[in-house]
């Protein structure tokens, strides 16, 4: 039994320690906002924060997250207030199918913590999530909007 802290809440999780964090979050903690896309850290749909750093949770073992603060899309809004990245996403109508957007939003939120006013080049380097609908144009607009919010 492992104790995992997700969005400030403790979850007792009874799985093998090498289980990918993604599946512990989705299937054991029951938080399905974090998505499976590739399982090999290529697409970024599973992006969460571990102690504030963006992590592709499909490729981190559960055991590595024990004792750390895991934040998922469900926990990004603090005390009911929508995070500025989420607000920018809503204002700019960014998602299409939306499946990749949890990971995209988490990656962007992490970027803005590190670089509050990112340039286009900063964005190009930091945001490498795949979106097959092709929302990149709106993603870029929304990042700049969130940065100046």
């Amino acid at each position: 039994m492992a104790s995992l802290t997700i969005n400030g809440r403790s979850y007792e999780i009874d799985v093998e320690p090498d289980t990918p964090l993604l599946w512990a979050i989705r299937e054991n903690a029951g938080l399905t906002g974090t998505k499976y896309g590739c399982g090999v850290a290529q697409c970024g749909a599973c992006t969460v924060h571990v102690d504030g750093q963006q992590v592709r949770s499909c490729s981190m073992a559960l055991s590595e997250a024990i004792g750390k603060q895991v934040t998922t899309i469900e926990g990004l809004a603090s005390e009911g207030a929508v995070h500025k990245v989420q607000q920018a996403w809503i204002d700019h109508d960014v998602p299409q199918c939306g499946y990749c957007q949890s990971g995209m939003i988490m990656a962007v939120a992490a970027l803005l913590e590190t670089i509050p006013q990112p340039t286009d080049e900063d964005i190009d380097l930091a945001i490498t999530n795949i979106c097959r609908c092709g929302t990149f144009q709106q993603v870029r607009e929304a990042i700049h909007a969130a940065a100046s919010a």
Partner: protein, 724 residues
């Protein structure tokens, strides 16, 4: 002031006779008997439910998969209903309900960019009919003539007295009235909700993790299944040794699925997948075990010159005579590979089967096809089956197929009473696609002594989608969809007049299963024709735009979008130093599209795209904001296909298993797309797919302008050409 009702009371009375004929005509206004919606509210008609709290529920039969159809269709209904847009919400009727009500919602299929363009009329009539019924109910209450009533934003006003009542107050009475015989639709120029750049209705849940996709379904007692189908298409499952995994944590059962697959059922999907990966499985690869991309390519190549039979898609004059009399001919051969849809969410379906009922929860582009698959695979009668459509994480054509649903039903049948969620791994998804078909094309152009193009022969050799997916739709063995964008007329017509023209198809169907892939056959047809048009222009020293224009005088709508992108990119003015331009146009899915690009190339192989200008004329624009997003997104799909997209075949199976070997574009590679939306009215074209096809040729033509090198096969990575 709202619009005055178009019908008087007498029309409503007479309208009682029209219900049957309305249905017979395929105009699904709703049945004569009031029907309760899921929440107990009486529906005004099949398309509209108005709750006592004034919430307007618009029923949507087509599937939302990111393309915005849900919002667009709701706008069309709301426009005619004249309700308050801020009170609009939507719901999907189920395919089971539709069958029980004589398909009152019409076709559920959502592909071919048809979501709006083939249902706009009857959904608008649904909204208009509901509005008339609501007015009638109010007029009855007031004992006033309908002609004295007006509507605006969900409020009915009796104009002479100034009395008002809201839709929610009269909805129940309206629900008991007979629908009108016919309704007049608004002129699109009078639209106030449709045609406007409104936000999507489904955005918030997509930003906070609350949107439930098929992969997120949870049912009480549900188990999870992971599956492996024989990697070689057409092969079978010989044996598996489940003794190795049955003792593993969480594993409940190992089941054979049809002739070719095996699934592990476990408490969690991670347990199911991990166990499946360690289980020894023996396949019988069957007769396709030696097929490779090379062998397929060679077979298709033979079709480029094979005499007959070849299906003729478009013909004018006599190309042979033109070639015989030509002062000069130009010839080129092009090729397009297999590509996977690679939706972000791998295929999945959840099924609860009992001897009495089969229920399916899945993201699908075609609820009715899933319903039919459930009926067939379960062996239960149709009134014992039901399908609940869930938001799909992308479709792009892949989720029009039902193979994964049939698998899920087959597994659930072996565990009656236990809900089973079958989810494919990314690897399974890559290996068992319904791939963009593989084709090659040889094009020959003939010029007279004055450099006029007098003949064009375009031979397509390769795979038919219909032969595999919808053989019943073929015409005397011919797949008409092969000629998308090349037809003499219709929704996918060629934009050029060449006096002697022959476009034909030597059909060769390898064993790799093809499918409709966002953009379908215009993707490669536009690359072939629009690259070759560029080749022809350069071969006679003419400007590619001017060369096209001369051939387009009888195709004003094609020409209009081409001119629009030429003007926006500044075609007639010099490009910045080191920057080169490409241009092209095409037509598909009822819309006219064109693109122009500016690129620079370093080291001969590193492409930087500086500008993309894309124009589309879809006839009517239901939501310009969402169309803009479809255009921008279509370039990500189209340029990912151009630069990276290839599934190669070796040993009868696909070699690429994940995004590391089948990459897709990211932020840094994607330039801004400047879209030009120029709806000219009078027809309804699609917007989800058409502009994909002009992405690649616009870049390829610019690459030639920059380097003098003509690229004739996709993807560019095979030519060592990469993004700068």
């Amino acid at each position: 002031m709202g619009h005055a009702p178009q019908l008087n009371r007498r029309s409503f009375v007479l309208g009682t006779a029209a219900i049957g004929s309305g249905l017979a005509l395929g105009i699904p206004f709703g049945g004569p008997t009031a029907v309760h919606a899921a929440d107990g509210t009486l529906e005004v008609n099949a398309w509209v439910v108005v709750r006592p709290d004034e919430t307007v529920v618009v029923r949507i039969a087509r599937s939302e998969m990111g393309q915005g159809t849900l919002t667009g269709l709701a706008q069309l209904v709301a426009e005619e209903l004249e309700c308050d847009w801020s009170k609009v919400t939507t719901e999907y009727p189920t395919p089971g309900q539709s069958v029980a009500r004589k398909r009152v919602w019409g076709d559920f299929s959502t592909g071919g960019s048809r979501g709006v363009r083939t249902s706009h009329e009857y959904v608008r009539k649904g909204g208009a009919a509901a509005r008339l019924m609501l007015i009638q109910a109010a007029a009855n209450e007031w004992a006033a003539p309908v002609s004295e009533c007006a509507t605006s934003k969900g409020v009915i006003t009796h104009v002479p007295s100034g009395r008002t009542v809201t839709y929610g107050k009269v909805a129940e009475a309206a629900a008991k009235l007979q629908p009108p015989a016919d309704v007049k639709l608004k002129d699109p120029k009078d639209w106030t909700i449709a045609g406007k750049p409104l936000k999507r209705l489904d955005t918030v849940e997509k930003t906070n993790g609350k949107m439930i996709y098929g992969a997120d379904i949870k049912l009480p007692g549900m188990l999870n299944a992971a599956i492996k189908d024989c990697p070689v298409f057409g092969g079978t499952l010989k044996s598996f040794d489940d003794s190795k995994i049955l003792g593993m944590k969480g594993v409940k059962k190992v089941v054979r699925v049809g002739e070719s697959a095996v699934a592990v059922v476990a408490d969690t999907w991670w347990h199911a997948k991990s166990a499946l990966e360690t289980m020894p499985v023996v396949w019988d690869d069957g007769k396709n075990a030696n097929v490779s991309s090379e062998s397929i390519g060679k077979w298709l190549q033979e079709g480029l010159d094979a005499a007959q039979p070849a299906f003729v898609g478009n013909k004018a004059g006599d190309v042979k005579a033109a070639f015989a009399s030509a002062a000069k001919t130009v010839e080129a051969v092009y090729a397009y590979p297999y590509q996977n849809h690679a939706t972000m969410e791998p295929m999945n379906a959840t099924v609860l089967y009992t001897a009495e009922k089969c229920e399916v929860w899945t993201g699908t582009q075609n609820g009715e096809a899933v319903f039919a698959a459930a009926v067939e695979a379960s062996g239960l009668p149709s009134d014992k089956c039901e399908v609940y459509k869930i938001m799909p994480g992308g479709g792009f054509g892949r989720r029009g197929m039902t193979d994964y649903v049939r698998q899920a039903v087959a597994i659930a049948k072996q565990m009656p009473g236990t809900p089973i969620k079958l989810m494919w791994s990314r690897e399974e998804d890559m290996l068992h696609g319904r791939y963009h078909p593989v084709t090659q094309s040889k094009l020959i152009g003939a010029f007279d002594a004055d450099n006029n193009l007098i003949g064009l022969h375009m031979r397509i050799s390769g795979q038919s989608i219909l032969a595999s997916v919808r053989p019943e739709a073929m015409q005397n063995g011919m797949d008409t969809v092969t000629f998308q964008g090349l037809n003499a007329s219709g929704e996918a017509a060629i934009g050029y007049t060449v006096p002697n023209l022959l476009i034909d198809h030597s059909m060769r169907n390898p064993h790799v299963p093809p499918g409709f892939w966002r953009g379908v056959n215009v993707n490669q047809n536009a690359i072939y024709l629009e690259s070759f048009m560029d080749e022809l222009a350069h071969s006679v020293g003419q400007d590619p735009l001017e060369f096209r224009r001369k051939l387009m005088t009888k195709h004003p709508k094609h020409l209009a979008v081409l001119n629009a992108v030429a003007e926006r990119i500044g075609w007639t003015t010099p490009a910045p130093q080191g920057v080169f331009r490409g241009i092209c146009q095409h037509m598909g899915f009822g819309s006219y599209v064109a693109a122009a690009t500016e690129i620079s190339v370093t080291g001969g192989n590193k492409i930087k795209i500086h500008r993309i200008v894309a124009a589309t004329d879809p006839g009517y624009a239901v939501n310009p904001w969402q169309i803009d997003r479809q255009i921008a997104g279509s370039f990500v799909y189209g340029l990912s296909a151009l630069f990276y997209g290839e599934c190669t075949v070796k040993g009868g199976r696909i070699e690429q298993e994940n995004f590391d070997t089948y990459p897709s574009m990211t932020m840094k590679e994607m330039p801004k797309v400047e879209s030009i939306l120029m709806p000219s009215g009078g027809f309804w074209g699609g917007v989800g797919e058409p502009t994909i096809c002009v992405a690649a040729p616009a870049v390829l033509n610019a690459y030639f302008a920059a380097t003098g090198k003509r690229i004739r096969s996709v993807p560019l990575k095979n030519h060592d050409i990469i993004f700068a």
